[in-house]
Amino acid sequence: MTGRANPFWLLAPALLVLGGLFLSALGLTLIRSFRYMPVIGLTEPDLAAYAAVLASPGFLASLGLSLWIAVASTGISAVLALGAALLLRQTFPGRRLIGFLVQMNLTVPHVVGAVGMAYLVSQSGVFARLAHAAGVIDAPGQFPALTQDPFAIGIILLYVWKEVPFITLILLANLQSIGADHEATARSLGASPWQAFRHVTLPMLRPGLLAASALVFAFAFGAYEIPLLLGASTPKALPVLAWQSYTNVDLAARPEAAAMAVIIALIGLATLLAYAHFAQPMADRGRDAR
């Protein structure tokens, strides 16, 4: 009996974890979101929790904020990472050091990064203190609000800082397997550097870039701790709103929290489906082109 003949046994541990922990929790959340919770006397499932969530005044603002955070963080991170990967592909003195520096913060947890970001850019942070020492500002309030701000700048900065190395790492691995031959061929056929990048390298990188971006998007959209630490009190990012509802002292609010969690999960799922829709044909096309 070989592993190839029986892929089930190789997959079993992963399936056990996925099914046992993730899917059962998702299932329980779904059940709760339909207001089925016998322990507090809810035994008639209905959709009232979803109606209440969608009709509550803060929900749309929170949804919009979370989408803005996810889109902006993903977009900026992807562009910067693409630049970093193309730069680090080349050989130049100090490349190893720069490569190390770019990827160092992969090991720093998000929460630690958020606290550091608050120490750096808040109105009484390091930069504000430097500005004060330089005589640019007299009081903390004169420093631009970069944390707890309406545009979520602090949150986006943190995600960009944290996710650029992640996307860069994936792109570098991609670039290594693609090699320099395709680009060199294009150049020898008379393509300008931009044309070679635009029509040869970028299409070949696109599947990896999209995959990494989809992961970053889903994470930035669904993560709770960064908006809690760096976000404004209103509107709250969707996961913060969901957690607040989950820890509401009134147990009857739990179904609404579950409904919000399901909505977050659905949007994450939609992102992945969109990724599969866009990336797969492209990968096929890339293969055909070869």
């Binding site: 803060g58 309030g141 707890q148 309406p150 209103t234 820890t247 002292v249 009134d250 147990l251």
Partner: protein, 404 residues
């Protein structure tokens, strides 16, 4: 292999679950319960945000329990007791009736109400604790937890009363009543803010404004009354919206947690912070976070006080050991130990007059931290807590009318 594993699991459940049956314990004498508790482990879930409190519980209380009762205390730090309510609730939903992960919770107020709402507390045993005799259950502020009758479901641990802190080098004459504070805020733009409810501490600040708007707390005591609420709430939101442009960041955002407000105060961004537990100010000065010139004060029209408790969940497998912990925490010696400012500075939940002469001398000898307003001073103008329904209505109203 599988069989021995199953046997091991069964054995460990049996060993863990031996004092899960609360009714059996209620039929025992205290000495029998102490005997049952030997060798037990108590998982105590409690707010873990203060190093001094953590040290007192883990090192001091844990040490005494090990030495005198052979009980292992496992302190589990959490951010909010609501998290543990969710845990126990989920266990109940999953049918875990005698092997829960939680043996003891530091709790009060709305979370206690949730525990009662879903029948998650072990009740009716507190008379068994010998040190229960030190508690003055005739005091309504002890016998009711935010207006919810305790009914033998939890044991008091500390009493607290809300106080404000300021840096006396920056604000020499702080406002001493709510009206003066509101005027001060308008005269000093950007120097004041409060955490957005439902933050525990932000919520109590809003309740002070609510009392002020209602002309005192007396009319608000008792069950929730929609008409009374509407009248006071309209005035409260008007006051809070009126001061909003004069708050930190022009009131466009509020700190999300009391920790963020403390940070703003420590960095000099705002002139005041506040806390249910004034001893925290002294601890922050000792830690070098707040300036030495930090001072704290109450209000002449009163500040809100309450009692916090420890509670055993219905499905704790170590009820006997948890009861021994509760009894130890209630003792005169432990109440004195944690009252020392260098240890914690927490006010006792017992009637000191009922303790031994030594303990009474110990309390008399305590010298407060200069940054911490004394409990006696605060007690001159104390306000009661409202019932939990009022709290949730005020929090929801604030979110809809002020913090939107």
């Amino acid at each position: 292999m599988l069989r021995s594993l199953a046997a091991l699991l069964l054995m460990s459940t049996a060993a863990l679950a031996d004092t899960a049956d609360g009714e059996a314990l209620k039929a025992m004498t205290w000495d029998q319960i102490v005997e049952e508790a030997r060798g037990g482990t108590v998982n105590w879930f409690m707010w873990g945000g203060a190093d001094t409190i953590n040290r007192y519980v883990s090192d001091h209380v844990g040490g005494v329990l090990k030495r005198d009762y052979d009980i292992t205390l496992n302190r589990v730090g959490i951010a909010d007791a609501a998290d543990v309510v969710n845990m126990v609730l989920t266990e109940k939903e999953a049918g875990v009736a005698d092997a829960g992960a939680v043996d003891l919770i530091w709790i009060n107020g709305e979370n206690f109400r949730s525990m009662k709402q879903a029948d998650l507390a072990f009740c009716g045993y507190t008379d068994l604790l010998p040190n229960n005799a030190l508690v003055n259950w005739d005091n309504p502020a002890i016998a009711n937890d935010f207006g919810v009758p305790v009914d033998g479901c939890e044991v008091p641990w500390n009493t607290v009363q809300f106080a404000f802190a300021h840096d006396s080098a920056v604000v020499t004459e702080p406002p001493r009543d709510m009206g003066a504070l509101l005027a001060w805020i308008k005269a000093n733009p950007g120097q004041f803010t409060y955490p957005a409810p439902p933050d525990f501490t932000g919520s109590v600040f809003v309740r002070h404004v609510f009392y002020h708007a209602a002309g005192g707390a007396d009319a608000l005591l008792g069950p929730f009354d929609q008409a009374k609420f509407d009248a006071a709430a309209a005035k409260t939101w008007a006051i809070l919206n009126e001061i909003e442009p004069f708050l930190w960041r022009e009131g466009q955002t509020y700190p999300n947690t009391i920790a963020q407000l403390n940070e703003l105060f420590a960095n000099g961004e705002v002139a005041f912070t506040f806390n249910y537990d004034p001893s925290q100010f002294g601890l922050a000065v000792q830690a070098g976070t707040y300036p030495e010139t930090t001072r704290s004060f109450g209000m002449t029209d009163g500040t809100i006080g309450n009692t916090n408790y420890t509670l055993i969940p219905f499905n704790s497998p170590n009820k006997a050991a948890a009861m021994v912990v509760q009894n130890l925490l209630l003792s005169g010696e432990e109440q004195l130990e944690k009252a020392k400012p260098e240890v914690w500075g927490a006010s006792p939940a017992i009637d000191i007059a009922r303790t031994s002469a030594e303990v009474q001398d110990g309390f008399a000898a305590i010298e407060g931290h200069p940054s911490v307003v004394s409990a006696d001073e605060l007690a001159k103008a104390a306000l009661p807590e409202l019932q939990a329904d009022w709290l949730t209505a005020i929090e929801a109203g604030w979110q809809a009318q002020v913090g939107n």
